[in-house]
């Protein structure tokens, strides 16, 4: 059984743990400067927005050359985002996206 990615897991854990632990363990870190707090608050939406957009809008060919991709996946992700905004329920949004994509791919071209 491969263990080649276990060191990557350790590295990922190594960079994740400080963000969870520093304010809890380091004296004086309980209150970050307001600008730092605001920046950190915005990192989550920015990174997740980028991840979602890049994954449905950018595709790579065999030589890793990026190109703009348009497909039904846009609708599926948009549906998930809409459901989450409406119902505040991620699982329901994912279910809706998967069902939409399954139906769309099952239709004759």
């Amino acid at each position: 059984m491969s263990v080649a990615l276990v060191p990557l897991a350790l590295l990922m854990g190594l960079v994740t743990y400080p963000s969870r632990a520093l304010p809890l363990l380091v004296p004086g870190m309980q209150r970050l400067p307001e600008r730092v707090q605001l920046y950190l608050r915005l990192v989550g939406p920015a990174v997740l927005g980028a991840l979602a957009a890049v994954n449905v809008m950018v595709s790579l060919d065999a030589d890793r050359h990026p190109s703009f991709h348009v497909g039904v996946e846009w609708l599926a992700v948009g549906l998930c985002v809409g459901v989450v905004a409406w119902r505040k329920n991620l699982f329901l949004g994912l279910l809706a996206a998967v069902v939409l994509l399954t139906i769309a791919r099952g239709l004759p071209a």
Partner: protein, 263 residues
């Protein structure tokens, strides 16, 4: 408050923690299973997928890692992205810190490892109901709601996922970007978050097309917040808390009954 009243309040609040945790656990199981499937599809062994779930224990960054390992990106990029995605935990830890400052450091060190969106959402409400920390309640919330179901479901997904024919036929491949979009919506609590998310997405795609998707994600994550900070706060901007929980609506969350008392 008498001792009897205090004990009664503690028991009632802990019951609420257990019920809330069980509700979240159902969905964490489903999401963890999908992560296991995705990890298997990307070539992860059960040991590698399990190591991610126990050591990193952060769903969004784990999904990102699967995508980038599959895409052949460098470990440096994956690690940087992990740090960006999980930086929001600083806020959760900072919010909990005043409650637990008097607890032993080793306990706080363990507490930190299992701090997730879900653990924060349940425990901050529990602490505010009590007006103080309750470590038993915290560990029940974190372990019962997420840690155990997430890890067990990961192993289930990565070991039996091969019995599912052609996952893309069932739309499984859209789960990662859809989950990222959904989680982003959950973090948007005002105009600045919305702008940061949109700018992050636009910059991410633009840099990805011009250079590389890994660089695009990092550029979006760096520049989105800078633009968000630059604009004035909207009237609905408020302090961040976990908005989206798997399978439950935040309106069902217990409402804070008292402001936290500093120890």
């Amino acid at each position: 408050m008498s001792q009897a009243t205090s004990d009664s309040l503690l028991r009632a609040s802990r019951r609420r923690v257990v019920v809330d945790s069980l509700g979240i656990a159902v969905s964490a199981t489903g999401f963890g299973f999908v992560y296991g499937l995705a990890a298997r599809a990307a070539g992860f062994s059960p040991l590698e997928a399990g190591a991610m779930s126990t050591i990193v224990f952060a769903g969004a960054s784990q999904f990102a890692a699967v995508g980038y390992v599959l895409g052949g990106f460098s470990w440096v990029g994956v690690v940087l992205l992990t740090a960006f995605i999980n930086a929001r935990h600083l806020l959760y830890a900072a919010a909990l810190a005043p409650f637990v400052a008097d607890r032993p450091r080793p306990v706080r060190a363990v507490m930190a490892h299992i701090l997730t969106d879900e653990a924060f959402a349940i425990s901050i409400a529990h602490f505010r109901r009590l007006g103080r920390a309750d470590m038993t309640g915290y560990f029940v919330a974190a372990v019962l709601s997420t840690f155990v179901p997430w890890n067990l479901a990961t192993l289930a997904g990565v070991t039996i996922g091969g019995s599912i024919p052609d996952p893309t036929r069932f739309g499984i491949d859209v789960i990662f970007p859809a989950a990222m979009g959904g989680l982003a919506v959950g973090l948007i609590t005002g105009r600045r978050e919305l702008v940061a998310a949109i700018v992050g997405a636009v910059v991410g795609v633009a840099v990805s097309l011009a250079w590389d998707p890994a660089a695009g994600i990092i550029a979006g994550g760096l520049l989105g917040p800078l633009v968000g900070i630059a604009i004035p706060a909207g009237p609905s901007d408020r302090a961040p808390e976990a908005e989206i929980v798997f399978g439950r609506r935040p309106g069902d969350e217990p409402k804070p009954e008292a402001e936290p008392g500093l120890p």
